[in-house]
Structures are given as structure tokens and as C-alpha cells.
């Protein structure tokens, strides 16, 4: 697919001397929801960090046809890649609304005038945030913090939103609600979504395509329908699929 919003070709990432991604080919189309599955240490977080340019990489990476390989993290964010990091990364001493406004400061030029409307839309998507807008973000519960982190990233009006383990540490009920909201985001905010997620069952339900990572390589990829029987995933998680065994990872 050469019409992709985001394309990576033979993407290699390393932390110091440890190579974590061994050549990833990935393509995401506009408006698509892609889920990244794989066991702990498969390289999901690193792939997201590589896409948002906060970890050094080799190989090609393009956003809407433009090579972003040499860009800084800040520049990449301004170009329309939103990233909700592992652990959410909210600013605990800032209020909920300050966190959201900060997200709005990163938006591309020409979209600045709609900040107020977008803030209202975030509050409509996550009503609980509106009730707590004056509260310090550090006082929110885990689920509320996750909503805040997603809302904050949306305020930048991303073309592509990366979300790292949204269900981590959340109660099953909260996770369920969160995924319902995520399913609606692409329509309401016209963005593509790349989710790194351990909860395969829920994420396969909302995604169009799944990519399975193991040992820093793509071991399976395709429409989510192909993964519904769980077989491919089970093999990937147990390290039986093509590629390196799970023990090989960082």
C-alpha cells in the first residue's frame, strides 16, 4: 500500500547496543484502526516510540508521504502524530483543563481557532473530565487519567493517534467503556488509531486490522476477521510462529 498515512520499511530501533526492533514493515491508512498485539517485550512500546520519533531508528518512515526519519519528537507531534504513552504521562500538578489546553498548543497551524470547540468536544466524549476540570490531574483515578491522556492527545487534532496499553491497570468494566469510546474516536475526530494492547479480545472487536509482534518482528498481520479464532495469536504469544522465540527479546 503506497497510499498509507503512515509507512515504515525495514524499521530498526535500538536502545544503546540492544536492538529491539529488527526491521518492521507497517502501513496504516487514513481512518483505519490497527491493533498491535504481542506478549510483553515484543517491541510494541518501542514501535510506538519509534513512530513518534523519541527513539533512534534506521530504515524508512513516512507520514503522508513525507519522510520523518530525521525529525525530533516535538516536530513529529506537531505534524499530527499523537501519542498516549504507557503510564499515561499526565501532568499531576496541572489541572485537568490545563492538561487538555496543553494538548491544544501542539496543533498544526490553521487549526488553532477551533481549540474552544475541541475542548467542548473532549468534554462531550469524556463527561467525567468536565466535572473535574479544575481538579489536579494527579487526583484522578486510573481510568480518568487514561481518558485525560487520550483527550489531551486529541486536542492536538492528530491524524494518527498512538495509544500504548490503554487497558493497563484498569478494571474490566472501565476497560470496556474505554474501548467503546475508542471505537467512536475515528469518526468524531477523523483520525487513524494504532493501539498497542494486551487485551486481544476487546481490541480485535474495534480494530480493522491486527499486527502481531514477537521478538521485535512482525509475525502475523491481516484483517481482524482472520484472528477471531485466536489461533494465530496463541501461536504468536507462545512463540511458535515464524520469527525469533519470545526469550530472545529485550
Amino acid at each position: 500500500m503506497s497510499t498509507g498515512l503512515l509507512e515504515t520499511r525495514r524499521l530498526v530501533a535500538r536502545y544503546g547496543s540492544v536492538e529491539v526492533l529488527h526491521g518492521i514493515d507497517l502501513s496504516i491508512s487514513p481512518g483505519e484502526i490497527v491493533v498491535l498485539l504481542g506478549p510483553n517485550g515484543a517491541g510494541k512500546t518501542t514501535l510506538l516510540r519509534a513512530i513518534s520519533r523519541v527513539v533512534a531508528t534506521r530504515g524508512a518512515i513516512t507520514l503522508a508521504g513525507v519522510s520523518i526519519g530525521g525529525w525530533s519528537g516535538a516536530r513529529t507531534a506537531r505534524a499530527g502524530i499523537g501519542h498516549v504513552p504507557e503510564g499515561r504521562g499526565t501532568f499531576p500538578d496541572l489541572t485537568v483543563e490545563e492538561n487538555l489546553r496543553l494538548g491544544g498548543l501542539a496543533r498544526p497551524k490553521g487549526r488553532r481557532s477551533t481549540t474552544r470547540e475541541d475542548l467542548a468536544q473532549v468534554y462531550a466524549t469524556f463527561p467525567v473530565l468536565a466535572d473535574m476540570r479544575r481538579r489536579a490531574a494527579g487526583l484522578l483515578s486510573g481510568g480518568q487519567q487514561q481518558m485525560l491522556a487520550i483527550g489531551r492527545a486529541l486536542m492536538a487534532r492528530p491524524q494518527l493517534l498512538l495509544i500504548d496499553e490503554p487497558s493497563l491497570g484498569l478494571a474490566p468494566m472501565v476497560t470496556q467503556q474505554l474501548f467503546e469510546v475508542l471505537a467512536g474516536i475515528r469518526g468524531e475526530w477523523s483520525t487513524s488509531l494504532l493501539l498497542a494492547e494486551q487485551n486481544a479480545r476487546l481490541s480485535l472487536r474495534i480494530a480493522d486490522r491486527a499486527v502481531v509482534l514477537a521478538g521485535g518482528r512482525v509475525t502475523a498481520a491481516g484483517p481482524t476477521a482472520d484472528f477471531r479464532d485466536g489461533d494465530v495469536i496463541r501461536r504468536a504469544y507462545l512463540g511458535e510462529a515464524a520469527g525469533d522465540p519470545v526469550e530472545d527479546e529485550k
Binding site: S52, V54, S72, G73, A74, R75, A77, R78, G82, H83, P85, G89, T90, F91, P92, D93, L94, E98, R101, L102, G103, L105, A106, A136, G138, L139, L140, S141, G142, R152, A153, A156, G169
Partner: protein, 293 residues
């Protein structure tokens, strides 16, 4: 009673200096997350700049904004040239750098201006203000107004502008701020510039009272650090109140505690600080960070 109030007022002379310097420390702490030991020497350098400008015939009220602008530029330069090399090297390295800066700036000033103390005329004049049997120098009154104005300006900057929002965000969580499109280096540089500008005001408040020499701020810096501990470095108001309280406690102890005298009285504010920290570890106004996980 009048006597006691007068002693409190007299304590303001030094208290305002400590408060102002503590404000600069608090600003850089909130704007960059760093404790800067060289803040005092940076302020002293600003005072010399003002002196050079006024001796060259520039009027004080023109020299002051010039000094503030030059100091801000100097602060930004220090960040860009020195601090940025240590990006990601950890707090201990930054602390060491700030001590190195303290020594380096002090040596630089001694080379250029010698260590001889110089008189620095009060920009506010020499008069006394008298009311209800109390008196206060014009310098004290001017310092107080300056301090309140700078506090108000920094409060506006930090709480009401997007610049302040970015500064706080980068200081609190640089990784997250980057993911939101904020250039970490740029905003740390701005944080240094703002703190250096506040330091320039501290210099103007301090120099007429302490007489200007390269080591002028060495002792006030210690007390400003104590003030930050007493009031809470994470709160600008707390740092200022801490500084003023320390000046007042010092003066009251030298007057009323038998056997202490002028030189030993300084134990009193430190005792006060120790007591407060035992009861409230984050200081009088400090925020203990509450985070739910």
C-alpha cells in the same frame, strides 16, 4: 508594641532580599525542575551590570530594564551553552554544574571588578517614611513594592499564559511534553531566562543594603535556600514568605534573645525552619504531591 513592630519592619530590609532571591530559586525550580545554586552569583552579576550602566551615565530607570533584559539573555545563554550538554544526565550532574557556575561567576566578577565592596546607591532614594510612630526607609518601601510587582508578574506568567503552562509542563514531565509537541530545550531556556530576570530584581533590592561585592549573595543564597525550605520551593508565595519570615526572625532574635547578638541571631531562623520542616515537610505553602495510582 511600637518597638516590636519597628523591629519587624527593620527585619524587612534583609527579609525582602532573601524573599526575592528565594522567588528566583522557586521560578527556576518550577520552570525547569532544577535547584540552581548559582542564582545568587547570577544576581550579583546583574547588579554589576546595573552599576556599569549607571556609571556610564545611563539613568537608573533605563538601566534597570536593560539589566533585566541582559540578565534574561545571559540566563538563556547559560542554559543553551552549558546546561543543555547535561540534558538527561540526572539531577546530581545539574546540581554540580550549578555549584561550578557559582564558583566560576564569582571568580569572573572578582577578576573584572576585584573583591572590594562598592557602594550601590539606592534607586529609591535615602529618605525615611514615618507613620504612627514607626519608620521605614524608602529603600525598604521600594523593595517591597518591587517584590510584590515581580511576584504578581511571575504569577501572571505561570498561571495565566500558555508560556507558563509550557514551562510547568516541561519541568514536570519532559517526556510527555515532547509527545505534545513542546521543544524541551526551548522551554528550559525560557525558564532560565525568566529566573535570571527575577534575579536581576533581587540584585537591585540587595545591593544598596548589602554593598556590592562578588560574594554579596553567598550568605543570602543560603538563607534563600532556607526560605525555600521554610515556605516551600514549589510555591512562589511560600518562598517569598519564607524569606521575609527569616529576615524578621533574625532581627527579632538579635534584639530580644539575650546573649545572641547581631552575629549569632542567624541561628533563630534556622531553628524556625527546622521546626516547620518537622511539622510540615513540604514547607508552609509547599504542595505535597498527591498522586493516585
Amino acid at each position: 508594641m511600637t518597638e516590636l513592630l519597628q523591629q519587624v519592619l527593620d527585619g524587612l530590609s534583609t527579609g525582602l532580599v532573601y524573599g526575592m532571591l528565594a522567588l528566583a530559586l522557586s521560578v527556576i525550580f518550577q520552570g525547569t525542575g532544577m535547584l540552581n545554586f548559582s542564582q545568587g552569583e547570577m544576581a550579583t552579576l546583574s547588579a554589576y551590570v546595573t552599576l556599569v550602566l549607571t556609571q556610564a551615565g545611563v539613568g537608573f530607570w533605563v538601566a534597570l530594564p536593560l539589566t533585566v533584559a541582559l540578565s534574561a539573555g545571559g540566563g538563556a545563554l547559560i542554559e543553551r551553552v552549558l546546561v543543555r550538554r547535561l540534558e538527561g544526565a540526572g539531577e546530581l550532574s545539574l546540581l554540580t554544574l550549578s555549584v561550578a557556575l557559582l564558583l566560576g561567576l564569582n571568580a569572573l566578577m572578582s577578576i573584572i571588578w576585584t573583591t572590594d565592596p562598592r557602594t550601590f546607591p539606592s534607586p529609591f532614594g535615602k529618605g525615611l517614611i514615618e507613620f504612627a510612630g514607626l519608620h521605614m526607609t524608602v529603600q525598604q518601601a521600594g523593595s517591597l513594592i518591587t517584590l510584590l510587582a515581580v511576584m504578581a508578574a511571575t504569577a501572571l506568567l505561570f498561571n495565566r499564559t500558555s508560556v507558563g503552562l509550557r514551562l510547568r509542563a516541561v519541568a514536570q514531565n519532559p517526556a510527555s511534553a515532547t509527545l505534545l509537541g513542546q521543544h524541551q530545550g526551548l522551554w528550559l531556556m525560557v525558564g532560565w531566562a525568566v529566573a535570571a530576570a527575577v534575579g536581576a530584581f533581587a540584585a537591585v533590592v540587595a545591593a544598596p543594603v548589602l554593598t556590592l561585592s562578588p560574594g554579596m549573595m553567598a550568605f543570602p543564597l543560603l538563607l534563600a535556600l532556607a526560605a525555600g525550605t521554610l515556605g516551600g520551593l514549589s510555591s512562589r508565595v511560600g518562598a517569598v514568605v519564607g524569606g521575609v519570615l527569616i529576615g524578621i526572625a533574625d532581627n527579632l532574635a538579635s534584639r530580644y534573645v539575650p546573649g545572641l547578638g547581631r552575629d549569632l541571631a542567624i541561628v533563630a531562623p534556622f531553628a524556625l525552619t527546622a521546626l516547620v520542616v518537622m511539622l510540615r515537610p513540604a514547607g508552609l505553602f509547599g504542595k505535597t504531591r498527591t498522586v493516585r495510582v
